[in-house]
Homo-oligomer: 229 residues x 6
């Protein structure tokens, strides 16, 4: 079960209201790489996960992401201020009309959707989805850091950014323990899995470890080979 | 902050896998009147709520709804069973392909969206939204009860259904303490707020306390009066 | 059947174009608490409603909400002005590109969706949903009133705001006639429906009529009781 | 303003409940080529239309489409029957849970969205959008006709299908009166507007009036000409 | 199969970064009448098209629309500039946070959705949908032309605008070859398909070729005739 | 530019129509881990990518994914068969009504949305997103393989499945060349980035390389430390 404790995971300070930055910060409240997405992704995955250790890992991080959602939400409430303080010339219409608390929308006004969640029932796959998701979350926080001078907000963002790194690391470590299982079983053991199809041609064609070496064969004009009638 | 405790709020038993009923039950996992909607609605409202007592009420129930989400999710995982157990002739395609855990979709396959959440920053309004939301949730559980014979599942649904009644009661009690505040201030004190416009006419036109008495005036042909050029 | 009469329900005047306010007003044209939502909610409910008196109530108000949609739409067309009058430095991109008439989007650019509509086939439930919906609509109009100085627009908004109050009153009156029916039957007659679960704890824990009195029992640490293995 | 008259535009008879067909018929209630889409498309267009004659045309047909929405909705309510009559082995889960009245969803469970509406503020363009929209609506009715043996339902569908033809004809006639205006002004008077780019090549390359004659020049290998660096 | 050639269909020049205009131009990248919509509409239609000549037409234009998507995308990347160059006071929040490349969203921040695609499996219908779609695309380009002074961007837009005219012309020519087939078979041969229902009445009622002549009968008060009980 | 070649990348054979399996296969045509998602993700990323070698990699694979979209689409058209062949008792309503060609929807009827696309403008991040995306795509193909006995379809799926492995490998190889750049720069160099927060407690708490070793410190009761007032 989930229990709520009135103290936050990490105390949030905001120096002064800043509706403009609040709009940007919404990206991590109701956006595609935000805290709700992370919480729901790991929580959904945990329900179908039969490995008790990985299940605990997913649940630990899911509960933490919910606690981050709360931190970001509290910061948003402070940054938005009262409905009356939003000036008439402010571009964020939603906030002027619906304010009083943050909405589960992204910085462009799009409501949160479960389409953001990747939960597929194979642990190796799920953890790989999670590793990428944490990098995207960190990247958004890095860009948010460039958009504010509020010391309290910066401190909160640095905390959250560090936590994404920590989660990425944990997921990568867990993946290592699962090599050769699930979707990773018998990986790249067929002919077509070792070919590189050069489907985009012209000035800029390049070679690198992704299309040469490691048993990779390079097909420079793929359709002449396999797509005839 | 949110903390997760491995025990559930109320222990869930499922007698046997039943993918057909799992599809129906998804309505309360990722549907418009389901547990995530309730949790996110009350949680969002609490962030902008300056009345500490109502804030506690919202947070108590938000945390409980998250715990219900977990109960429903655990039941779904048991009802779905392994991916391999979903028969080929089963109509719920999503479940056969993506299974292993429940998705945040409704019983028709539509992903959860924050459009379901009503959080508007006026306490009186928000609590009224919540009272209606709890009735809808209860109604869905009543219908789900008719669709299964599994004793364990029925027991869980009865628990959840009772909790919705309890929440509806709490919200109604709290509304009473707020009469005459916020959106309820100076309510129905203008002329137009006391008129009833008979915009649908013919066999079936009816009168009742909603269009007579209590100072209500009945306009039988509204556009002749106020919409002239 | 629906018939359109060229006169509006209430004549709309707009003093001068104001694209900025038009963007805000879109919230009531294509937004989640706007006029189309109200019209479609009551219209959908009426189709499944077997009580002829409530059916008439729903149809009266549905037709009026469509007429409000028209009023808001006409106001929007006047506020937007011609496509060429939208200045290049205007933030509302959609309006500059697609203008000429209002779109069914909210003030943040999100298209109207039937996810906004609550129609569940139980009259008591439906009317409760409607009572809350009218309060939300009124609240948005109150905030819109603060965002314009145009006398004609203010007059229209005050009319519409009063009508939401009237509808809320009618729905509340109708609910009273249905006590003890549908989802309200045998309400709160089980043990669990009389408990309050204190799921959020710490500084701020509060007591009030929502968690004491009226036969309510207060569970201060719920999971120790019902969630054991 | 919109007024509702209790009589329908055309009386609907349904011989017996048929939830399976009801699911299909939802396509014309809440689907992308259904009656609400048509009504909202013509209504939105009319608000920005400064040609009074075309405005009347758009309003006449918008009001009729709303009346068709009602006919389809009434038929759906009869086809669905009571919630209790939906058998447990029925594939349409949404209907079993949420029934009592039709939802604004399509036959696949997707909620109606304003993304279906094409309203762009140029009369010539809008009427062309409408002409195509009516053909799509007719096509869906033709396919629905093949999926039912209910004489009453077939009679209703034939009526609606005929009305789509009528609307298509009216829009086509109106377009003729607007030749050379709006987006049709100076049409196809540049070089590039007279070229045909053969971007898909191989067995199947064809010639026809769309890429020869009428001043059209045929570019057999387009990127060699205009896309160099 | 699709092959990518590094040269563009038509070389794109952008004189200088202009994030404001980039937001507007997104309408044709990820918007409802943009290049991806066109490409996916014609591509989907081609898959179900059994007429080899029309299939080639659809594939030629689908591939060209993908090449236009690339042109618009390259222009967007140049207009956006680096993430660091987006000023803090810029209204387009999404771009400041997520930039580095264009997103598949419209100018209002709404993500692209397949709801924009009309593909219905009847060639006559599909081509009519396409003719209207090309006009809408052209109209958006005309409005974009008014919103920039960048010579390079204007040149690109004029090219794309001309191509929409060319495609509209091709589709219209192809439709002519299909008269009397598919959905156009036995068109307007029933009584109801020749009536005009005057559903919107009052000052503004008009007559024109759309409701008189060509065998059309005008019903001035439709519900008195067919909707009785 | 994109050019279409009439031959497919790999010839597709389908032994006989199978609408049931077609519904499942839609997951890879218009679903969240399908071919369009992959194509649009890599294509969008390439537009903002300033590293010419990685740009070529992204464009090669984007063009191949479009070619896979075509293969899946052609298979779908064959599996669906004519509209008339879809039996009345078939659960996939959309297909019966709209058939003639595949729609860009997933196996649950949800339309494709750009919310599926992860393109964030940091190469390291983007490639990590891609590596996870390819695993998810492979997983769906593995499950599809279990749902059909058609030899031709199985052959196509095995080809596509192998190609996902190949793409995953290429992306992983490319990531290695970018270590320490972009979002990976100064990774995990702060205190909080090395902590593990035990937010989910009780029976099941586990330790592993994800929360011990490698400099990780384990916080067993996090909020006592950083969240005080
Ligand atoms: Ca290449
Ligand atoms: Ca009435
Ligand atoms: Ca409490
Ligand atoms: Ca060709
Ligand atoms: Ca008229
Ligand atoms: Ca733990």
């Amino acid at each position: 079960m989930f229990k709520h404790v009135k103290d936050m995971e990490y105390t949030v300070h905001v120096d002064r209201p800043d509706p403009r930055f609040a709009v940007l910060l919404l990206e991590q409240f109701g956006g595609g790489n935000g805290e709700l997405k992370a919480a729901m992704q790991y929580f959904s995955q945990s329900l179908g996960c039969n490995d008790p250790k990985i299940r605990d890992l997913l649940q630990d991080i899911a509960a933490e992401e919910l606690s981050h959602l709360e931190m970001v939400g509290e910061a948003l409430a402070m940054l938005i201020g009262g409905v009356d303080t939003v000036p008439r010339d402010f571009a964020a219409n939603h906030m002027a009309l619906l304010g009083g608390g943050p909405l589960l929308i992204n910085s462009g006004g799009e409501p949160w959707t479960a389409n953001y969640v990747n939960s597929n029932g194979d642990i190796y796959t799920d953890l790989s989805s999670n590793a990428g998701a944490e990098l995207r979350a960190k990247l958004i926080y890095e860009r948010l850091l460039q958009q504010t001078d509020d010391a309290g907000v910066k401190d909160m963002i640095r905390f959250l950014l560090s936590r994404e790194e920590s989660h990425n690391f944990s997921f990568m470590q867990a993946i290592k323990t699962l090599k050769g299982t699930g979707v990773n079983k018998d990986f790249r053991d067929s002919d077509f899995s070792k070919k590189y199809m050069n489907m985009s041609t012209g000035q800029g064609d390049s070679r690198g470890p992704w299309n040469q070496g490691s048993g990779t064969s390079y097909e420079s004009d793929p359709n002449l080979r396999y797509g005839g009638p």
